[in-house]
Amino acid sequence: MTHPQRRRGGGGRGRGLATGGGGSAVRGRGSESGGGIKGGGKVLVAPHRHAGVFIAKSKGDALVTKNLVPGEIIYDEKRIFVQNEDRSTVEYRVWNPHRSKLAAAINIGVDNIWIKPGLKVLYLGASSGYSVSHVSDIVGHEGCVYAVEHSHICGSDLVNMTEKRTNVIPIIEDARHPAKYRMLVGMVDIILCDINQPDQATIIATNASYFLKPGGHFMITISANSIDSKLSAETVYQKEVEKLQMEELKPTEILPLDNCEGDHACVFGGYRLPRKQNS
């Protein structure tokens, strides 16, 4: 299979406007962004409650992450450029909640995503690497993202993306058999699972037993129709949660994702959490 070339185009327009923004370079003056933000106006980028994530405020709000590889975009997302006091530009990429369920969960207002700069993350179901790239932005160079994707077509896009981002490790394997990639993965702090298979509870459990450190956390997206289309969504969520609990994956939050099509929910939780000592 030939190595598809990536078109890194489309970023030029952002840059052009940044320099043409004109006027006094007030701190925080950005330009050209997407997801509801009109270009050219004053954009303020403020840190989000979750570490590593930022909000770009303008007429509309957008979720952004700081670009680990300035100048590179993954598909066609918009970028925001912000000038610091020392006249250096910081580049942020817009995180589209329609494309990424994690972004949707953050927008809805999840308590804790558990992803922080410097952590090691195992991402099952990495697909072409869109969400993976944002997670990699958040964890930064100290952290590491192990991206597992079974399909070859998405896999080659993933490999292309990871060539530029050195903190992402591409693994083209079936997540059902973590033994097959045991030599590539160390212990991780978080597992993110976006697979949409009927046996996904088992999948995440096996992976956790291999790689998730005790006291670690997980996030799993449940698509009710992928598990069992006959039952109602709430029933499906409940059943999945029970399955997870049996495997020592204790859910702390269940978040229905309203802005996605179909019935989706995000479940956040912890693994082998230290039991409260009864003194």
């Binding site: 030939t2 993933l158 693994i171 590539l184 212990m187």
Partner: protein, 553 residues
């Protein structure tokens, strides 16, 4: 008991110090929480490092298949005599047991152990920090991913795109330099430019002789043909160019060297491009040739992008300006783009180029998809399609000929006269005549003004008309008619002096025709054969350019 741990850096075997701990799985996790306590439980016994990424890749691939690689086997044999080995994969364990006679264990306790070891790995494996492991891990994961995706560096189309870009650049540069040589040396020996028209030969000759005085002494037979050599030597003697110094000649010669080396390199590059095209896209190469194929890929950006285009797009790739202009102004769109230069289209007659271009584009689209997304490495599919295309071309040309010469089945098509139609384009210009039955029976017919009747009427032919004329008895002469068609029947015409002009070939009917009126026929074309049986009355010659027509009765 020993534990086998596979890492991106190599294989490690740990010795479990206290087997009793295995009994209590839950507490195991606690034991591994700190490095100190971890070291109490397991100790590194041996570590076999991978020499390079390819060795690591091989070992890992073998593991995937469930067999231990040679390195692993040696390592285990050396270190695991007489002990049980804890492994992560039970299948692997079985194979090791068979081949190496080492007992293997795999259960929940083992999994917990492995978890613990993995979490404290960097501590336990002294001398190998996290930052050492990271690049190895990255390298191994990328090689493994590429292996899985069957990525072969041979099939990268970037080389092709760059090579064809360079080829075009080289051609431009070569031409520029060659022109410069001519101009520069022309100061000294202007006649040479006209004598030798080829750039490379010019450069070689200049390099050989330097100053034109040397021309007479030297032998150019390796470079030039005899007559040219003779011309050269002659012109050298009587040349009107100025003298140049040796230093100048030195620089001119250096430039010639450049030209020659560039042209050599261009030939090499072309060969390289050909070999790359045959590796990357063998079927496309079989269909359209290396150069056109490379240009198509370069135009499309990459082979994968090109494979997403339909055949109609492939047909007009390269003619976008003409295409959109035609679409905007609602005119006819172009029939071919880059594909015009393919040999299949080049061989076709101009009439058929459009059809061949369309068929070729359709087959090429299939070939491109096969090359980009398929697994095959050969070009059988391309060759088959090419054979089909050539058969179609033969078919098209055969049909054309058949139509013009008439077939046994039926009458050939009679073409409408078109003054703009090119003559001499194969086949007959005028089709064979058919018998016009309209004017068969003449009994009781009055001489009329119609086509049938033609009396004395002056005819002035227009250039463009043909008429079917049948003459009948005409009482009066001097009918002049214009004839649009060449079918003419002459019959008894008494005293007529029609002068008719015929522009095209005319065949006369075999009926008893007594041509009373004399006609002069003038043909514009030479292919006319007349058979006039009748006497010719004094005919009037008329010019070809008469435009009026009179019919008189």
């Amino acid at each position: 008991m020993l534990i086998l741990v596979e890492t991106p850096a190599g294989f490690a075997v740990f010795k479990l110090k206290d087997e009793g701990k295995l009994a209590n799985i839950e507490d195991l996790a606690k034991e591994f929480e700190t490095a100190e306590s971890a070291r109490k439980i397991v100790k590194l016994k041996a570590f076999d490092k991978f020499d390079n990424t390819s060795e690591a890749l091989e070992a890992v691939v073998k593991l995937h298949e469930g067999t231990p690689s040679k390195g692993l086997r040696k390592f285990l044999k050396a270190n695991c005599e007489g002990e049980t080995l804890a492994v992560a994969d039970s299948k692997l364990g079985n194979v090791i047991k068979e081949k190496l006679k080492i007992d293997c264990v795999h259960n929940n306790a083992v999994m917990e152990l492995l978890r613990g070891v993995r979490s404290q790995f960097t501590e336990l494996l002294s001398g190998l920090g996290d930052h050492d492991m990271a690049p190895m891990r990255l390298g191994l994961s990328h090689s493994l991913a590429r292996y899985k995706l069957k990525f072969s560096s041979d099939k990268v189309d970037t080389m092709i795109i760059q090579a064809i870009g360079l080829l075009d650049d080289l051609d431009k540069e070569l031409n520029t330099y060659a022109m410069r040589v001519r101009e520069w040396y022309g100061w000294h020996f202007p006649e040479l430019a006209k004598i030798i028209s080829d750039n490379i030969l010019y450069a070689k000759s200049v390099k050989l002789m330097g100053n034109r005085i040397n021309a007479a002494k030297l032998d150019f037979s390796e470079i030039l043909a005899e007559e040219i050599e003779a011309d050269l030597k002659e012109a050298a003697v009587i040349s009107m160019g100025t003298e140049v110094s040796d230093l100048d000649l030195l620089h001119i010669r250096e430039l010639c060297d450049q030209v020659l080396s560039l042209s050599e390199y261009r030939a090499q590059l072309y060969d390289y491009l050909k070999s790359r095209m045959n590796t990357v896209a063998p079927n496309l190469t079989a269909l359209v040739g290396e150069l056109v194929g490379a240009r198509l890929i370069s135009h499309g950006g990459c082979l994968l992008n090109l494979s997403k285009q339909p055949g109609s797009t492939v047909q007009i790739l390269g003619a976008e300006k003409a295409l959109f202009r035609a679409l905007k102004t609602k005119h006819a769109t172009p029939k071919y783009g880059l594909i015009y230069h393919a040999s299949v289209v080049g061989q076709a007659a101009p009439k058929h180029k459009g059809k061949m271009s369309r068929s070729l584009a359709a087959k090429s689209a299939l070939a491109i998809r096969f090359d980009a997304l398929g697994d095959g490495q050969d070009n059988t599919m391309g060759l088959e399609h090419r054979a089909k295309l050539e058969a179609r071309l033969r078919n098209l040309e055969g049909k054309d000929l058949g139509r013009l010469s008439g077939s046994a089945k039926g009458k050939p098509k009679i073409e409408v006269y078109d003054k703009d139609k090119k003559k001499g384009s194969g086949g007959l210009i005028t089709p064979a005549k058919t018998y016009n039955t309209a004017a068969d029976s003449l009994l009781g017919q009055k001489p009329a003004k119609s086509e049938d009747g033609e009396e004395s009427s002056k005819k002035k032919d227009k250039k463009k008309k043909k008429k079917v004329e049948s003459e009948e008895e005409a009482e009066k002469e001097e009918p002049s008619k214009k004839k649009k068609k060449k079918v003419e029947e002459e019959e008894e015409a008494e005293k007529e002096e029609p002068s008719k002009k015929k522009k095209k070939k005319k065949a006369e009917a075999e009926t008893e025709v007594v041509e009373v009126a004399k006609e002069e026929k003038k043909n514009k074309k030479k292919r006319k054969h007349e058979e006039e049986e009748t006497t010719e009355t004094p005919a009037k010659k008329k010019d070809k350019k008469e435009k009026k027509k009179k019919n008189k009765d």
